[in-house]
């Protein structure tokens, strides 16, 4: 995991520090820039280049007219989309279809560093990195996504068990590995997905995954079953639409068991244990309970239930640490706000707007309004959506869903599948190019 730049060359570039930073263009990957970049008025570091962080980096550069220097720290070489990754399990997409480089962000002058933030030194306003010297910042954006609370599923609390019992809840190698497990399973076998208590990343995701695995079984091994063990008392998203899809498309293939929280796993016996029951399967897909990513915990940004980061929803600034902004799944969600890609992308714009405004002495948006659009694919042909609009309510100092707006599809359709594909193309471009 070596970064592509040398330490010496890099340090030369950043030695000037924040105030006088004359940022070299060698990291921007855009040597032929027609005009010299304006003198920076300050520096933002963004940790994490997912739907939240990458979008925020791009929009800060756009809206500050390149006056704010932006470093984007990401440990992965490429972006892999979680949305649509269930289609890799279903077989209608390849992981390569969902994999995008960060090169286009460099055209905005975003300095993408392949590295890992290991510590935030809040008092010094510096970020400690794995491969290079600390970097100072004027504003910090933390967009780490989720990490897993393996302690609540004791047997899985070690790397060996985790390599056998996958979550595949971060798209990438695990997605491909889970697909291989499904391919290797005999016809007549059982795939078990265990869903943790809400809130978790992507509320409709587990039910969509049940559809996609059933879709694959229907083509390749029709005697097989999908068993959904849900820690929640009912489906937490798009309930009517999913139940209709299960009944219409996969009758007799998907069994749904509410109030079945995975407490442990017998890896050798391939069994998921809940409070009173045990369920034996052939492929186990256990989603552990989730919390804000590790760096948020290290930076003491977690304020709720040891899990999520409280923010001021007008600006996305942390309620715990000044000048640090938190985006996406890591946040303590506002009322009726899902942990979705669309939301993370729009959190990023609230933050970018507020950061550019405060760093240039302008007023912040008095009434931010954002929206969510989230599609679920029930097969290779049909999809459905949920949508909502969230606006700032000054009296309550939070974002709330606008009454009367939003809703779900009346029914799944091929038209909405085309819109889902179009959503993906556009949000990928909006986030990364």
């Amino acid at each position: 995991m070596k970064p592509t730049y040398t330490r010496r060359a890099f340090l030369k570039g950043v030695a000037a520090g924040v105030a006088t930073a004359t940022t070299p263009t060698f990291l921007s990957g855009c040597a032929g820039e027609p005009t010299p970049p304006p003198k920076p008025i300050g520096r933002v570091i963004v940790i994490g280049a997912g739907y939240g962080g990458a979008t925020c980096a791009k929009y800060i550069r756009m809206w500050s007219e390149r006056k704010i220097e932006v470093f984007l720290i990401e440990r992965n070489v490429q972006f892999v989309s979680c949305p649509l990754s269930n289609l890799v399990l279903g077989g209608s997409r390849k992981i390569e279809d969902l994999t995008i480089g960060y090169d286009k962000l460099r055209e905005y002058g975003v300095q993408v560093l392949r590295d890992e933030a290991t510590e935030v030194l809040v008092e010094k306003r510096r970020v400690r990195l794995k491969h290079i010297e600390d970097l100072p910042y004027d504003r910090l954006v933390v967009a780490p996504g989720v990490d897993f609370i393996y302690g609540e599923i004791p047997t899985l609390n070690n790397p060996a068990a985790q390599s056998l019992i996958l979550h595949a809840w971060k798209a990438g190698p695990e997605t491909v590995a889970l697909r291989k497990q499904l391919e290797a399973m005999h016809d007549g076998g059982t795939y078990i997905i265990a869903i943790p208590r809400a809130p978790f990343r992507c509320p409709p995701g587990p039910y969509e995954r049940a559809c996609q695995v059933a879709h694959y079984f229907k083509q390749a091994k029709p005697a097989s079953k999908v068993l959904v063990l849900d820690a929640n008392e009912d489906l937490v998203s798009k309930k009517g639409l999913f139940l209709a899809a299960w009944n219409d498309l996969y009758k007799g293939m998907i069994e749904y068991r509410p109030n079945q929280e995975a407490k442990d796993v017998d890896v050798k016996g391939m069994t998921v244990k809940t409070e009173f029951d045990s369920f034996k399967g052939d492929v186990l897909n256990v989603l552990p309970p989730m919390r804000a990513g590790d760096i948020a915990a290290q930076a003491k940004l977690i304020t709720a239930n040891n899990r999520w980061c409280g923010v001021n929803w007008q600006t996305m600034e942390s309620v715990a640490v000044a000048s640090v902004y938190v985006l996406g799944d890591a946040t303590l969600s506002a009322a009726a706000m899902p942990k979705s890609a669309s939301m993370a992308n729009n959190h990023a714009k609230i933050a970018a707007s507020a950061i550019v405004a405060t760093m240039t002495g302008q007023p912040v948006n008095p009434l931010p309004t954002i929206n969510n659009a989230c599609y679920s694919y029930v097969s290779d042909r049909e999809a459905m959506h949920i949508a909502s609009v969230h606006h700032w309510v000054p009296e309550k100092k939070t974002l709330e869903p606008v009454a009367g707006a939003g809703g779900v599809s009346p029914q799944r359709s091929e038209l909405e599948k085309r819109y889902a594909d179009a959503w993906a193309r556009n949000i990928w471009a909006d986030t990364l190019s």
Binding site: N346, N365, A387, G404, G406, N426, I427
Partner: protein
């Protein structure tokens, strides 16, 4: 800093959205950014969605009103447009109409 002072004054007297929007110059830009999840940055579609950039403002206002009033059929847009006030529709339509189709960087 003048804008910040005007803004603070507006808050103090508890003014309407329209007045707030006047004190905040980027209302249309910020609203349009939220639409980009489906319609692309600055309303420049990159495949499969209606392009919003550089459309005439009156046309965009009419479409949003028609979605909101249920006059134009849609999957998502009737639900989203109901979340927008007249002032927001005006601001976002003005922003999109001022964009060029070719994305600027």
């Amino acid at each position: 800093m003048k804008a910040a002072t005007r803004f603070a004054a507006a808050i103090l007297v508890g003014v309407s959205f329209a007045a707030l929007a006047q004190t905040y110059p980027n209302m249309g830009r910020d609203l349009a950014a939220a639409c980009a999840i489906c319609h692309g940055t600055s309303g420049v579609n990159t495949g499969g969605m209606p392009n919003l950039a550089a459309q005439p403002k009156d046309y965009l206002v009419r479409q949003l009103q028609d979605f909101r009033d249920g006059k134009r059929p849609a999957t998502v847009m009737q639900q989203i447009s109901k979340g927008l006030t007249d002032e927001q529709i005006d601001a976002v339509a003005a922003y999109f109409s001022a964009q060029t189709v070719r994305e600027t960087r």
